[in-house]
Amino acid sequence: MSRPMPQRGTKFGPNDEVDFAIIGSGAAGGVLARELSQAGFRVLVLEQGPYLREDDFQHNEMKVIFGNALTNNWSRQPTTFRSSEQEKAKVQPALLYGRVVGGGSVHFTANYWRFHEIDFIERSKRGAVPGADLVDWPITYADLEPYYTKVEWEVGVSGLAGASPFDPPRSKPYPLPPLPIKSTGAIFEKAALKMGWHPFPAPIAILSQNYRNRAGCVHCGYCEFFGCEMGAKSSTLASMIPEAERTGRCEIRPESYVFEIRTDSSGRVTGVAYFDKDKRENFQKAKAVIVSANGAETPRLLLMSKSSRFPEGLANSSGIVGRHLMWNSGGIANAIFEHPLNEYKSQVVTRVVHDFYELDPKVGFCGGGGMDMRFDLMPIMFATNGLPPDVPQWGPEYKAYIRKNFTRTAFVFCHATSLPVPTNSISLDPDVKDAWGLPATRVTYRDHDDDLKISQYLIDRAMEMLDQSPALKKWSAPVRPQQFGVHLLGTCRMGNDPKTSVINSDHRTHDVPNLFLCDGSSFVTSGRGQPTMTIQALAFRAADRIVRLARRGELGKMAPATRS
């Protein structure tokens, strides 16, 4: 799908020492590239995946979803999984991430909930939780609020300020009105109101109208799992990266798979080693490195960057790089309706409920969540994985079921917390290698019991809500421990103490002065199930902090410093 395109940004030579090498071009990397290049720095972004343009995005379920056109492919990059440290991990798909310029923001659903105050201070408010390293963030909601607003306005988020009584304070309304309601939204809103809940229009990082030279959504329906050929979905590919390239100081270098961050005898980063698209090894010099490779690839790269000075991996004096992996928990309640919903049209979610964001501690577990209603299966997915357990899997009844219910099925999606469990982790598999000969990502994961409890709690509420809806049939499956993650959080957590955290609140690693980490790995808690908005707010804030350090000369002689 990739094809040569005229270079939009600049192009650095192998011996150019760039100011910043950013590893990863996704939700965080794209923001940092734009902010740092606009601030005058010379920025190189190294991305594992190809550079696809809007014309490359196809309305083809087989190619895009089953062909992993936008995501990691386990046949070339196998992952292994185990549920405890005592087991030997088995090869199986264990995580999914965006592997394309724009990262996961290209294929995501674009739910853009802010975190609430509680997410930053849950430990102080709730106390310790056995089996989890629950701690407060070193920053608060108030510290991030200006950056949440910045995300909404710079990236483009549609929503309705003040519509949820549970929303934290905000300094500005959304720049764009909510997207049009769909049948799931209408059903959910009415039933939720009957329950006494407070449904509100979903905040979505998709343009409901034209905005800043980008076109509004045309409701084509190829949305979650797909790239947007209109540029209406506010991926960093559509929003941030063109602006970074326009500075003339930013190069996006696709199909560049970084496998080592190198350091000198003083312990400072000198640059990064990577494989190009022909699997040739290259080295790129950089004055500072920012890793925004996602909550799995960021710790993996640090663990692969071992040296005599950093025998346990780079920036890992604490020994916690890769630990506290959080996927978000959750579950689904399913329903069928009499009339067509036609949920295959438009973007995915139109109404959300946050009544369960913070629960009375009397429920007996720690955590909270949110809920939406949607139907996000394409036809092949539906025919192979979307049927209730009591329907035949082939024959006339199978055909009749699919025929009738593709347009009439809906899911209540429950999204919830994961507690930071130290043994849930990303590590290097000792045996399995990827197609480049690098150690495979090994996932160790077992949901905390409280995560399973909050998931079941929300499914039970969703089933009660469906009783207030015109659903003809509803069903759910019991909650089981997860073996697959798409939200990759918490593995290089932020904190003030170098013994218990990997980065400080400037996103600077405690151990290496010119190495920064910013992505889902920075999270201290998981939030209630929609992390990308907070990843981007952190990235805008990190950019401010890093620019300040660079202008103070703490990162060596950089481009804007030489000019002044």
Binding site: H59, N60, E61, M62, K63, V64, I65, F66, G67, N68, A69, P93, L96, P180, I181, K182, S183, T184, G185, A186, I187, V218, H219, C220, W327, S329, G330, G331, I332, H339, L341, N342, Y344, K345, S346, L377, M378, P379, I380, M381, A383, T384, N385, P388, P389, Q393, W394, G395, Y398, K399, R403, T407, S455, S476, A477, V479, R480, Q482, Q483, F484
Partner: protein
């Protein structure tokens, strides 16, 4: 591929996603159009595959797998981008054939059995990985973008009411249309 295409996997939502992604082990993407001639299967294999796919999505008052050209989609896929899955698929066919010989030792091939006999064989293997491979390949050939060689005449999409138009406008479905009508009526009521 342990029958992931067949199993109902309604657990925590990331598991559902995993299951969806699992299905790529049965059939991978990136094809050009498939011609109406065989490139990979022998005539007998093609006959068996067409018979199986027609049992999974039969021709009824509406077109089924046969009319959608599912066998040509599978044949072309295995000949081209899904060549690495040939063994998996021929293993599935071998499992089917073994069951045929066990249940109907005098028969020559699956396609020449009566529909009741074919049904009996498929029922005997419906919990096995072989069935998962057949179901996924059939559904893929029936509901894929026609540019990939199946879903001829968009018979799969027409069957389920999937409108492949490049753009849509609200209201999208019955309940949002009702909702908008009610809101408009309430506004009118408030004004009068």
């Amino acid at each position: 591929m342990a029958g992931a295409g067949a199993a109902w996997l309604a657990a925590a939502w990331p598991d559902v996603l995993a299951a969806r992604q699992h299905a790529q082990h049965t059939m991978r993407a990136a094809a050009a159009g498939a011609p109406a001639k065989l490139e990979y299967f022998t005539a007998q294999q093609a006959g068996d595959v067409e018979a199986i796919s027609s049992l999974i999505i039969p021709t009824t008052d509406t077109p089924g797998a046969r009319e959608a050209g599912v066998v040509y989609f599978i044949d072309h896929s295995l000949h081209t981008y899904a060549a690495d899955q040939q063994k998996q698929f021929t293993d599935a066919l071998a499992a089917l054939d073994a069951k045929r010989k066990e249940l109907f030792p005098a028969s020559a091939d699956f396609a020449s059995l009566t529909s009741a006999q074919q049904t009996e064989i498929l029922r005997a293997i419906e919990k096995t990985p072989a069935f998962g491979a057949f179901q996924f390949a059939t559904a893929a050939g029936f509901f894929c973008n026609p540019e990939d060689g199946g879903n001829r005449g968009m018979v799969g999409w027409k069957l389920i009411g999937f409108d492949h138009a490049a753009t849509h406008t609200p209201p999208f479905g019955y309940y949002d249309a009702e909702y908008l009508k009610e809101k408009a009526a309430a506004r009118k009521g408030a004004k009068s």
